[in-house]
């Protein structure tokens, strides 16, 4: 784009699948026969499928100023088959999607010194908790106790770093 302005970019595709299973058995008895033996089992099967698409572009002006922007879109589809210790079975399914932007700027005011600022949003899809199997809730009620909502957070950073003359000192802020 000319000597004053330079553009670099990156784009990517992320595809994944995961099958998870958990089987547990609790065996409780009395050595002296004071109470009958209790054998309880639980099982969980979780199937996840997901795709993520991202792109990022960075403009560099006069080899001193970097301005970057990026966007990632995630989609995950999750199925769960949960059987609790009381024998109640639940088949649950849900999908989660989110777009996560990112912006940053950096200025190199000297060859070995720069200041920067960035803001980005992170995202983790929700899902189902295989450990919440203790109580025989009815279908519909299960969903609230076993479903984990997706989470996101904003992250902002500002700072700078540099190296002094003759490389005798350096700083990070």
């Amino acid at each position: 784009m000319g000597t004053a302005l330079d553009l670099s970019w990156q784009a990517g595709l992320f595809i994944f699948g995961q099958d998870y299973g958990q089987d547990a058995a609790n065996d409780i008895s009395s050595t002296y026969g004071f109470f009958p033996r209790m054998l309880t089992t639980s099982a969980s099967d979780l199937d996840d499928r997901g795709i993520g698409i991202y792109g990022q572009a960075r403009f560099t002006a006069w080899k001193k100023l970097d301005i970057a922007a990026g966007l990632r879109f995630d989609y995950e589809d999750k199925d769960a088959n949960l059987v609790n210790a009381m024998g109640f079975s639940s088949r649950l399914s849900d999908s989660y999607s989110e777009a996560s932007p990112q912006f940053s700027a950096a200025y190199r005011y000297a060859p070995d010194q720069m200041a920067y600022a960035s803001v980005s949003r992170g995202y983790k899809a929700g899902g189902f908790n295989p450990a919440r199997q203790a109580f025989p809730l009815r279908p519909g009620q299960n969903r609230m106790t076993r479903s984990i909502p997706g989470t996101m957070n904003w992250d902002t950073r500002q700072g700078g770093w540099g190296t002094g003359s003759n490389r005798r000192w350096r700083f990070f802020i």
Partner: protein
């Protein structure tokens, strides 16, 4: 963000080995060998090791230590340079763990006897992990391309005491154990 990069090819044949030994019979052995680029196309990288120790907590009922750890692991890489633009890397790794039981017990007993429990059942946690990754890189004049495909398989089997005490008349002869298995492929 955690970025873990596999070891690149070395410029010459490189063989390393190291070992450590400590109290609680701690032992750690690991070794690696990596080749330079052979015939301008291939390189090989192998690494593996074993690490283990005895448990920190003793079970006074049996005299055994309870929470020992032992793990063997290995990793291999094969690098293939097709030409100046295309490069392929194949990575295979595995791990096998044979750990002791959780060091849990009656709180009053542990407070009176730190690092000691009194239980009538001793379990374990066994774990196996395997993974493989294929990395294909293309370096063009204006655009670079990278493809990373991988799979991970793991399985964990835990058997443990559930009541963490000894069956006695005072607790009705309670004897409880938990057997759980987790497995995943992705």
């Amino acid at each position: 963000m955690i970025n873990i990069s596999s070891r690149p090819s070395s410029e010459r044949w490189n063989v390393q080995a190291e070992g450590a030994y400590g109290n609680y019979s701690y032992r750690d052995l690991r070794a690696s060998v990596s080749s330079p680029l052979l015939k301008e196309r291939f390189s090989l990288n192998l690494a593996g090791g074993y690490s283990g120790r005895d448990g920190y907590t003793d079970n006074d009922l049996t005299g055994h230590d309870l929470d020992s750890r032992a793990a063997g692991f290995g990793k291999g890489q094969l690098f293939f340079k097709v030409n100046d633009q295309w490069k392929i890397r194949w990575i295979v790794s595995g791990e096998r763990d044979r750990d002791g039981d959780y060091a849990l017990g009656d709180l009053g007993y542990i407070r009176a006897n730190p690092n000691h429990v009194n239980r009538d059942f001793e379990g374990y946690t066994h774990r196996g992990v395997g993974s493989t990754t294929l990395v294909v890189d293309y370096a063009g004049a204006t655009v670079d391309f990278s493809s990373i495909s991988g799979g991970v398989w793991w399985k964990t089997h835990s058997l443990t005491d559930l009541d963490y005490q000894t069956a006695a008349l005072a607790n009705g002869g309670l004897y409880a154990i938990r057997d759980s298995t987790e497995h995943s492929i992705s």
